[in-house]
């Protein structure tokens, strides 16, 4: 899952990035409104965390521009202003949720997870398929009730496939959603991660459609 953080305060941006990355999410940071809009328009993010008080182009304008350009990525707005008018402006312009500063990082993570789940059409935070369960809150994966030890890349791949279960996901799409904007992308390594997941979680969980991609069929 790929997240864009549009926040101009470098310390807060790095804290957000650190927290979200520790939860297995792939994170890009934009430091001004223009960069945020450019990345939002060109990269396939799952959630955009958008501070309303951005330099160069304010968050509300970025939000309006993204929505008017047909972008339907889930957007969580951050505002430091007390005014409800700001929040209502944001929500009315198409934001999906808001948080006011200062906030607890745990609340932000929960909201981001909720937005990702909402996109996947899932109401509960736990995915389940046969004997495998994946808890999006803790990134804990269990097979027959036994906790499995997965690397962050493996979790990123598994999480994206679970959130898009029932749909065929190409290697490129997976690569787009687990690598950072400026990261080193190699779609061949995706195959390596999928193979490791099969070894750890059983070969039935992820099906390969040769030459097209992967799919986790209907989950609970």
């Amino acid at each position: 899952m790929r997240i864009l953080i549009a926040e101009d305060e470098p310390v807060l941006a790095s804290q957000l990035k650190k927290t979200l990355m520790s939860e297995g999410l792939t994170v890009d940071v934009a430091v001004d409104g223009a960069e945020a809009q450019y990345l939002g328009e060109t990269e396939p993010y799952d959630v955009i965390i958008l501070d309303l008080g951005l330099p160069i182009r304010d968050g509300l304008t970025v939000l309006k521009n993204l929505r008017s350009g047909g972008n339907d990525t889930s957007i969580l707005i951050l505002t430091a202003r007390n005014d409800w008018t700001d929040r209502v402006d944001g929500l009315d312009a198409g934001a999906d949720d808001y948080l006011t500063k200062p906030f607890h990082m745990a609340e932000l993570s929960a909201r981001v997870r909720a937005l990702i789940r909402r996109k996947a059409g899932k109401a509960t935070p736990v995915f389940s398929k046969d004997n495998v369960t994946f808890d999006t809150r803790t990134n804990q994966v269990m097979v027959d009730g036994v906790s499995m030890n997965l690397t962050s890349q493996e979790i990123a791949v598994l999480s994206y496939l679970f959130h898009n279960s029932g749909r065929l996901v190409s290697r490129n799409e997976l690569s787009d959603h687990i690598y950072q904007h400026e990261g080193d992308r190699d779609s061949n390594t995706i195959a390596v991660f999928v193979n490791r997941l099969r070894k750890k979680l059983g070969s039935d969980l992820i099906e390969t459609v040769r030459g097209r991609g992967y799919v986790i069929k209907a989950t609970v």
């Binding site: 807060l12 889930s74 007390n82 929040r87 200062p102």
Partner: protein, 450 residues
């Protein structure tokens, strides 16, 4: 300070009284002297006639009664008398004297002598007498007298007529004065109404629509209003900027503390202190906002616009999925609150209601016959126990800490509504079973132009 109207009316009345007193005194004394002169003139003519009659009839004094035959001398005590004393002391007099005698001065003079004394019946009379030579060395004293009664009666009539005329003039003057005061003060009344009506509007008063005497004041008021709006705008912006400047570092500190706690450090006291700091800041900013509100002026928010926005926003909010929010309000309602303040109140209350609601939140708004807007927000959440309702609108009182929040929403709404002279009341909703928030807000009288 005394009102301009009272000053103008009092001043006008004082002037009128002074003018009337002076005028009345002057006119009445002039007319009195004229009347007196006329009285004396008539008596002199009568005296002259008597002298001529005496001169012509000195040989036959008894014919004098016929010679001075004016009818006014025939009726006894008519008030008009004549009397002739011969050198021998014989006395011939008008029948009107009816045997009474007019006194004769001791001084002998050929010049006419004027005197005032009590005449017949004790009535005051004015007399003109003169020693008239009728033959060589023979002098008769010819005297005519007229009662002062008629003269005094004339004076009274004259005075009464003058008083009536001046009273009438005064009445017209006072009416005219009041009309003039009203006309002169009219631009000031218009100014007062315009100022209260336009305080929040961006365009100032139209200087050209006032008289040149008031125009400089109107200019000053425009400057003052603009400055006041500037101060309000600036202080709100500064509060918002300050909030922004403080909150980001606060978020950073909070995250660092969270990290340290996750690593096992005991940071609870620091986190609590930061919570208090944040709550205090939030409440202070809300207070600054409520204090910066000028509730006496004619701002108005259209409920259609504001509630429409809130309805769309809250229904779009991801966290409210599975909960329904419906707003039912008459079209065209206006509430006398600044739109951002109104949205602040509604945002806090609706957010609170949706946070606690199980499935639904309802909003109803309507206007009462006595010109108030009643807005009620109800939810089907757990509500607030009756004995804790008073606590709920106090600053930072979190009645239930199971959901995130600062416990300030109700307090902020309470402060803002009170700043606009409205009322807020909490109760248990009979139908949905959760909290019911009733608000009574002043109705907006005019649409803002901006």
């Amino acid at each position: 300070m005394t009102s301009l109207r009272a000053r103008a009316v009092t001043g006008g009345i004082l002037w009128a009284v002074a003018i009337i007193v002076l005028g009345l005194t002057g006119v009445s004394s002039y007319l009195a002297s004229q009347t007196q002169a006329r009285f004396v003139e008539v008596l002199e003519t009568r005296h002259a006639q008597a002298v001529v009659a005496v001169t012509n009839n000195s040989d036959a004094p008894d014919d004098l009664v016929l010679a001075i035959g004016d009818l006014v001398y025939q009726v006894p005590f008519s008030g008009q008398y004549w009397q002739v004393e011969t050198d021998t002391g014989a006395l011939i007099s008008s029948p009107s004297l009816d045997g009474e005698r007019l006194p004769r001065p001791l001084r002998r003079s050929e010049e006419p002598l004027r005197s005032e004394f009590d005449g017949p019946n004790g009535e005051a009379v004015f007399a003109i007498g003169q020693w008239v030579p009728v033959r060589d060395d023979v002098m008769w004293y010819v005297q005519v007298a007229s009662s002062l009664r008629s003269f005094e009666e004339d004076q009274v009539v004259l005075r009464n007529t003058l008083l009536t005329a001046f009273a009438f003039v005064s009445f017209i003057g006072v009416l005219g004065g009041l009309t003039q005061v009203a006309v002169v003060l009219q631009p000031l009344n218009k100014l007062r109404k315009d100022v209260s009506g336009r305080w929040e509007q961006e365009d100032g008063l139209e200087v050209q629509s006032y008289p040149i005497e008031v125009a400089p004041l109107v200019n000053d008021i425009n400057t003052l209003m603009e400055r006041n709006r500037d101060i309000m705008r600036r202080s709100r912006r500064q509060a918002a900027d300050l909030a922004h400047a403080i909150k980001t570092p606060s978020a950073i500190m909070r995250n660092e503390l969270d990290n340290l706690m996750m690593q096992g450090a005991d940071m609870q006291e620091a986190v609590d202190a930061l919570d208090r700091l944040d709550a205090q800041l939030k409440r202070s900013f809300a207070r600054m906002r409520a204090d910066g509100t000028d509730a006496t002026v004619g701002v108005a928010t259209e409920l259609d616009t504001a509630l429409g926005r809130m309805e769309r926003a809250f229904n779009a909010l991801a966290r409210n999925e599975g909960k329904s929010f419906t707003a039912d309000y008459e079209e065209g309602l206006l509430v006398r609150m600044d739109q951002s303040d109104f949205e602040e109140v509604m945002g806090n209350l609706l957010d609170n209601a949706l946070k606690w609601a199980e499935t639904q939140v309802r909003l109803e708004a309507n206007e009462t016959a006595d010109g108030k807007i009643i807005i009620t927000i109800t939810d089907d959440g757990p509500g607030i126990p009756q004995d804790e309702i008073a606590k709920a609108t106090q600053s930072g009182q979190r009645l239930d800490t199971s959901k995130p929040g600062t416990g300030l929403g109700l307090a902020i709404a309470h402060d803002l509504i009170h700043a606009y002279g409205g009322k807020i009341l909490l109760s248990k909703d009979a139908e949905l079973g959760g909290l019911a928030v009733h608000m009574r807000l002043p109705v907006g009288s005019a649409k803002r132009r901006d």
